[in-house]
């Protein structure tokens, strides 16, 4: 009995001593962190003076604030390199301010993760910061009730105007999001070697594109056009990329369609998008089993020259870099051709945005704002680029793409300034639940463009009615 009591006492002493020492080291740890962060700031200041004037406004970052003890919850649906890049950004911010960031991974499927966020908004269970779709889709989450209004923050000038426009509520002037990653440009990625060997020219019309396909099929074993239709995203890209020509034909198409003033089949450009998919199938220019071809396999085949062309977005280059990095410069880019060479242009996807919870607790508010500000600075972009090579523009002022960006991405970016439009989803959120299935059926010859558009219209009408959009 005596022995037991002694042991308990001894144990208690050890525990309490351990407690002392840990709190002691904790204190010194904080001091060290403070020193470190100060050092980091001085380092940053010298860096800032070295870089251009545009960045002087960024020196106020976090005002040297110390957020030790604060934990932020951040939810996003990105995977792979992009997710790693975010982690690098968060780690840099943690080091700078001493706060802790817990990342929660949502489903990588866009519809599914949006659904999760909406359910959590309705149940009052939103994270502090999350990645949200922007443009017309912002409305789904009732931003005025759920998202922190960033208008009035000085650092908003770091974000380029075209991005700020689509995250701003025109009526109230509220600004909701900062760009999370890079923009995406859609078009045709082609293998330069195949084009060189067969002496092909870059097609500027859809007829010339089909003629190239014919030559490739006739004179080589190469598959003319990869068609990775196995996923909902893969099957929609060609069709969605056509939106540049739709808005070129009628700049107000999306708005008019949302207000039910026009129908999809009335737009010739819209119909041509379906026809293009159907053409590739009908003439047999695609691979044997499009429905089992994954995006990754298609991009490797393109790099290897087993297929000549692939209609997709610039983010494919990150996949190529990862899986076939040494062949990255075999790939070039040209816009999806349409009627004539004068009207050529590209459709873009804007990066999803980081948004903050409107009902955030007071002690976290400052930290959240500091993080959002940090994410718009070149320091954050540097951290991002340590993990992945960007495949599009960051939509930030004073941040340029690094030198190691692939040539295909540079070519695609050059079209953004010349002739581009964001895709339809940024202007109208009407989209039925069967869009991907219908497009799969067009791409494998089950539906003609006319049958498909009739079904898309019917499917979209249900979606619009369910959303309670006026006029439907």
């Amino acid at each position: 009995m005596k022995r037991l009591a002694t042991m308990i006492l001894a144990a208690a002493m050890v525990v309490s001593m351990a407690g002392c020492s840990s709190s002691g080291s904790g204190a010194s740890g904080t001091a060290a962190a403070e020193n470190e962060s100060k050092a980091a700031e001085t380092g940053k200041e010298t860096q800032d003076t070295e870089t251009q004037d545009e960045e002087t406004q960024q020196e106020t970052l976090a005002g040297g604030a110390d957020f030790t003890g604060i934990t932020l919850n951040i939810a996003h649906s990105s995977t792979g390199d992009i997710s790693d890049a975010y982690d690098a950004q968060f780690a840099a911010f943690e080091e700078l301010t001493g706060c802790r960031i817990e990342v929660e991974h949502l489903a990588s499927d866009a519809d599914e993760s949006e659904n999760t966020i909406q359910v959590r908004a309705a149940t009052g269970n939103l994270p502090d910061i999350w990645q949200n779709s922007i443009g017309a889709k912002l409305q789904n989450i009732s931003p005025q009730d759920n998202i922190y209004d960033l208008s009035g923050q000085k650092w908003l000038s770091n974000i380029v105007d075209s991005y700020r426009e689509i995250v701003t509520d025109n009526e109230t002037g509220a600004v909701y999001a900062v760009p999370a990653t890079t923009s995406n440009v859609a078009g045709v990625f082609y293998n330069r070697n195949v084009y060189g060997d067969l002496n092909l020219e870059i097609p500027e019309t859809w007829e010339a594109f089909l003629a190239n396909c014919e030559t490739i099929r006739a004179e080589s074993d190469v598959v003319p056009c990869a068609s990775p239709y196995s996923t909902p995203s893969g099957v929609q890209i060609l069709f969605l990329a056509q939106y540049y020509y739709v808005q070129n034909e009628n700049p107000d198409f999306a708005q008019q369609y949302t207000a039910k003033e026009t129908e999809l089949h009335e737009s010739e450009a819209y119909m041509r998008g379906l026809t293009k998919m159907y053409d590739i199938w009908e003439k047999g220019y695609q691979c044997e089993d499009p429905l089992s071809l994954s995006f990754e396999d298609a991009s490797v085949q393109l790099a290897n020259g087993e297929v000549a062309m692939l209609v997709c977005r610039t983010n494919v280059m990150a996949t190529v870099e990862e899986l076939a990095g040494e062949k990255i410069d075999h790939i070039g880019f040209f816009p999806l051709p349409d009627l004539d060479s004068q009207s050529l242009g590209v459709a873009t996807w804007m990066p999803a945005g980081w948004v903050a919870n409107k009902n955030i607790s007071a002690e976290k508010e400052e930290c959240v704002l500091a993080l959002l500000e940090f994410l718009t600075t070149s320091d954050a972009i540097d951290a991002y680029c340590t993990k992945t090579t960007p495949t599009g523009a960051f939509m930030l002022n004073g941040v340029s793409l690094p030198d190691n960006v692939s040539t295909a991405v540079t070519e695609a970016q050059s079209w953004v300034d010349k002739a581009s439009s964001p895709v339809m989803e940024y202007f109208s959120d009407i989209k039925g639940s069967n869009m991907a299935t219908i497009l799969q059926m067009v791409g494998t010859g089950d539906y003609t463009p006319d049958q498909a558009v009739a079904e898309i219209e019917q499917d979209n009408a249900i979606d619009a009615q369910q959303k309670g959009i006026a006029g439907w």
Partner: protein
């Protein structure tokens, strides 16, 4: 004479849980199925959602596919499940080992199975490699419209067989051995024993397996969704996957209506079936 009962308040905790997690959500979903609902505001639209649901192209395909899928998987599980159970209970030495092997797929999640079979069945997967070694040209199991639903059924049967066999094994071992011994003395053949003793006495177990696997088959969508996503086209779309797609597009009202319809279909089929088999059981 007054029969002594437990005081009513003893039931309250259980009742409360039952009401909050079952009764209230069920009736709430009946209400929301008649609205357009964005999780915050619900606008009452009467029976509009139900009409819309049946006008969708995907639903028409889904109703037929769900029926085929449920009937095929359910009957296969009952017939083959009984035969396999009869075999593993026949006193063979590997009986226990076989039970474990047959039951093990049941332990895997549907999504795991779906993802695994996706790679097994792809055009260059091991099944097609085996086929090509045997000189048979590759089959596009999951992307050919005429095969995809059959492939999904086969995988579900493989997965669900374990449960059916285990229930049948329990049923079979509950039959007293005396009957078999008595019939053996009277000179009954194995077939006679099976049809005259085993079958009549196993009917309650058949009823259980039939009901469980039919309900499972009607409601199943996760396995199919991971295998094919409802495709190619609408060829493997089932009611569950239609509802899932509607939910993920934010059409909560319409999706709930789909769920209510599924609930009604399951009830309309399963309750009469259950009482029918029950009566058959009494007659035997």
């Amino acid at each position: 004479m007054n029969r002594k009962r437990y005081p009513i308040w003893l039931a309250i905790p259980g009742l409360l849980i039952y009401i909050t997690i079952f009764v209230i959500p069920t009736f709430a979903s009946f209400y929301f199925s008649m609205t357009t609902w964005n999780l915050k505001t619900a606008v009452f639209t009467g029976t509009e959602n139900f009409r819309t649901f049946f006008t969708m192209t995907s639903t028409r395909a889904a109703l037929i596919n769900t029926a085929i899928y449920a009937v095929v998987t359910c009957s296969a599980k009952v017939i083959f499940g009984l035969l396999i159970a009869r075999y593993v209970c026949s006193g063979i030495r590997s009986g226990n080992y076989l039970k474990i092997v047959i039951f093990s797929p049941t332990l895997l999640g549907n999504v795991v199975i779906g993802t695994a079979f996706q790679s097994v069945l792809e055009p260059t997967g091991i099944v097609n490699q085996a086929l090509s070694a045997a000189g048979i040209s590759a089959v596009r199991f999951l992307t050919d419209k005429s095969v995809a639903l059959a492939a999904c059924c086969a995988i579900d049967i493989w997965k669900g067989m374990g449960t059916a066999v285990i229930i049948f094994v329990a049923g079979l071992s509950a039959i007293p051995q005396d009957y078999y011994e008595a019939s053996a003395i009277d000179g009954a053949t194995d077939l006679k024993k099976f049809t005259k003793i085993t079958l009549p006495l196993i009917v309650p177990t058949v009823n259980t397996v039939l009901t469980l696997s039919l309900i499972g088959g009607l409601r199943d969508y996760d396995l199919i969704y991971t295998l094919t996503g409802g495709g190619p086209g609408y060829s493997t779309e089932v009611i569950g996957s239609v509802v899932y797609k509607l939910f993920s597009r934010g059409s909560y009202g319409l999706a709930t209506a789909g769920n209510v319809i599924l609930f009604a279909i399951v009830s309309v089929i399963v309750f009469p079936l259950n009482s029918f088999v029950g009566k058959w059981e009494e007659r035997l």
